[in-house]
């Protein structure tokens, strides 16, 4: 799957560029925290938000197990879990995860290949 880079470039790489990291951004002016990268704060408009690496710790907010995929690459992985994770830094992100994850589970971030590219994958915190 080709990557569509729609955000502004950052000096550190994340999983969308093949590095084992999740990045997020925060605003020095209003303290807003978010995931989808851009060159300004979507809450107050301030420029030069800080881009930081997340700890990888979070809690499952929502979960689904995909049993019918649409692309040949994804079909090879069926069934796979897609989860929304509330990260401890205060932003929410989509990730893969173990199929037995439930809402409220505390998780830690790992990374696995999906359809030939690196993808975030959460497992229960031990």
């Amino acid at each position: 799957m080709t990557k569509a880079a729609i955000s502004e470039a950052t000096s550190i790489a994340d999983w969308t560029e093949g590095a084992e990291a999740v990045l997020y951004q925060s605003c020095g002016a209003c303290r807003h925290v978010w995931y989808f990268r851009r060159g300004f704060c979507p809450s107050c408009g301030a420029e030069n938000p800080q881009t930081k690496q997340a700890s990888g710790k979070g809690e499952v907010y929502a979960t689904t197990i995909v049993r019918r995929a649409a692309t040949p690459e994804a079909k090879a992985h069926v069934p796979y879990a897609i989860v929304l994770v509330d990260m401890e830094e205060g932003f929410r992100m989509m990730a893969h995860g173990d199929n037995d994850l439930g809402i409220g589970d505390e998780v830690v971030m790992q990374f696995k290949l999906f359809a030939g590219a690196l993808a975030p994958y959460v497992v229960k915190k031990t």
């Binding site: 969308t16 989808f36 197990i65 995909v66 049993r67 019918r68 649409a70 897609i82 929304l84 989509m94």
Partner: protein, 377 residues
Amino acid sequence: MSFITGVGLTPFGRHEGRSTIDLMSTAAESALSDAELKRKDIDGLLCGYSTTMPHLMLATVFAEHFGVQPAYAHAIQVGGATGLAMVMLAHELVDAGVANNILVVAGENRLTGQSRDSAMQALAQVGHPQFEVPLGPTIPAYYGLIASRYMHEYGLRPEDLAEFAVLMRKHAIAHPGAQFHDPITVEDVMASREISTPLKLLDCCPVSDGGAALVVSRDPTNARRVKITGCGQAHMHQHVSAARTLTEFGAAAAVERARARSGTAISDVKYAAIYDSFTITLTILLEEIGLAGRGESASRVRNGDFGIGGALPLNTHGGLLSYGHCGCGGAMAHVVETHLQMTERAGPRQVRDASVALLHGDGGVMSSHVSMFLERM
């Protein structure tokens, strides 16, 4: 002020060999005839988009093909909310004096014009291209995520969602144009194969070919008087990862804006036409709008409240779930059915009183919301 003066709807399902433009033309011809208007009377044209016929200028392509030369025309895109957004815009344009008779039209050979996988892939692109789409989500996966959280918050079971699939099928059986006519039970829904948990095949609307059209006019063109009394929108997010909560999506805000314009109280609503791409969509919209209490919509279905003879008849054509879903025309079928009900032309599906109606549509992943009140004068 504006009136819906004519409506047209094709059957939904398979229309082998018919293109987007063919299906739009059939529906448009039918709406014109219903409004008792000629092509020369049409001075405005709004259309949606088609995944099988992507074009920069679909409205003018259609205008040329169909044979109208409007003073105002363009396409708009708000995903599944497009149908109602077009009707809202037509209402606002007529109200502002920009045009007198606006043809609103949508159609697509979404089922036979492409493979099911390519339809699913095209739709999944409403996800974030960098942070979501690489994870292989599908539209049912986005809605599966929403369902998991909503059901967790309000204690709903999969059997509760299934009630809506059964109800929509029951309604569709009474409409010859619906895609599905085989009766189903809650057990059938539960036994259908899982697509993306907790959603099963029968919790999901089908992909269909079809077309729908209507005319929005400044003045009545015939004896019928269905007035658009107020519309509203809300757009809180695009991507499911960026939604602030998975329990408040903007539906209530859109309805409140429409209500402020129309002066209609929710308690005055006699007929409801609510977007039902999935059973969870319908459940959440009914409950967020306040047509049912939180977590209570399924018990309202079991009580018969949303049936043809119930206190608040809902999607009596069978909705997207069983009449079918051809893209922008999907939600317009809800409008057409509402108009038929309000003008007492719904035949065996006719409800006792549809004098005041509330319509609501959403696009994306519960991202864009459009609400509309209609009243029979």
